[in-house]
């Protein structure tokens, strides 16, 4: 009758198609509501930001990651733990500059855009997965790291891979104790 001391959090699963179709319906509806691609991108980013600020708590609770000491460790955790946990893919990480605050995540397969072959006519500037950028930005901000997250390459726009660029803006403060993503 006694409860186990440490119960693993349950992963409730849903059908991937349902999730992908829901995201697609969201983007399609935003496209109908707003004429300009920039507006759609901006609202997707805002929505993603709201999701990211909440999702990071769930992520930190489930994954029990250790404290990070550098930006590259943070990026590795985002790529290998967070993406794997929530989207089931593991993007590869590329570092762009010597001061080690600009990184890219290269996704060769994007599950959110599985059924979308190409962007509709007249929507060539649309970042279909801009929600992901907002999620990453919101999550990093909740652990007190300001970052700029954008799409550098997008397969839907004709590039060979999908690339998300993350640029950390403020210097990492190691003296204060806090859990870092």
């Amino acid at each position: 009758m006694s409860r186990p001391a440490h119960k693993r959090p349950e992963y409730h699963k849903i059908n991937k198609d349902l999730f992908v179709l829901t995201y697609g319906a969201l983007v399609a509806q935003l496209c109908k509501d707003y004429e300009k691609d920039e507006d759609v991108n901006r609202y997707l980013d805002k929505m993603g930001y709201g999701i990211g600020t909440r999702l990071v708590e769930d992520f930190l609770a489930r994954s029990c990651v250790r404290r990070c000491h550098s930006y590259s460790e943070i990026i590795d955790i985002i790529a290998q733990v967070a993406f794997k946990m929530y989207l089931g893919i593991t993007p590869s990480v590329v570092c762009h500059n010597s001061s080690r605050n600009e990184f890219s995540l290269i996704l060769d397969k994007n599950p959110l855009a599985e059924f979308v072959e190409e962007l509709p006519a007249g929507r060539s500037a649309l970042c279909y997965c801009n929600l992901l950028c907002g999620v990453i930005r919101g999550a990093l901000e909740m652990v007190h790291l300001a970052a700029d997250v954008t799409f550098l390459q997008d397969r839907l726009k004709g590039d060979s891979v999908t690339e998300i660029g993350i640029t950390f803006l403020k210097k990492l403060d190691e003296k204060k104790y806090r859990r870092k993503k």
Binding site: D17, L21, G24, A25, F115, V116
Partner: protein
């Protein structure tokens, strides 16, 4: 090897129709159009029996001297019509069924595209490639 493949919407207008370019396209359009009557006849005939037993594959709709026309209807009343060369006797029923299944799967993928509105003409490249592979498939 199919010479003409058509996808017809519930309201009986074509969503996608393609025939091998060497032949007279209008003739195939006409054949597909006339086959729709046969499709409706088969659907209504089957409707009297239990709906559960209704199969999606309709089989040979009607033969002409040069061609044979096969039909397949989905539960959402979208019809696939395929015209094959009569001289191609190597094509068995199973192969026609599998071709229709592939068509149905590709059509489902087109429907899942959030930017595709049901009732629009099908312009998906993946669908075109699949149809091309069926038409130039050498038996």
């Amino acid at each position: 090897m199919a010479v003409c493949i058509a996808v017809i919407a519930k309201e009986n207008y074509p969503l996608y129709i393609r025939s091998t370019p060497t032949e007279n396209e209008l003739k195939f359009h006409y054949m597909v159009h006339t086959s729709l009557d046969v499709v409706d006849e088969k659907i209504s005939a089957m409707g009297k029996a239990l709906v559960d037993q209704r199969e999606l594959y309709l089989g040979l709709l009607y033969p002409t001297e040069d061609y044979k026309v096969y039909g397949y209807v989905t539960n959402s009343k979208v019809k696939f019509v395929m015209v094959v060369d009569s001289s191609n006797t190597a094509l068995r029923d199973n192969e026609i069924r599998s071709m229709f299944r592939k068509l149905h799967n590709s059509y489902t993928d087109v429907m899942c595209n959030p930017f595709y509105n049901p009732g629009d003409r099908i312009q998906s490249r993946a669908f075109e490639n699949m149809v091309t592979s069926m038409m130039i498939q050498v038996c």
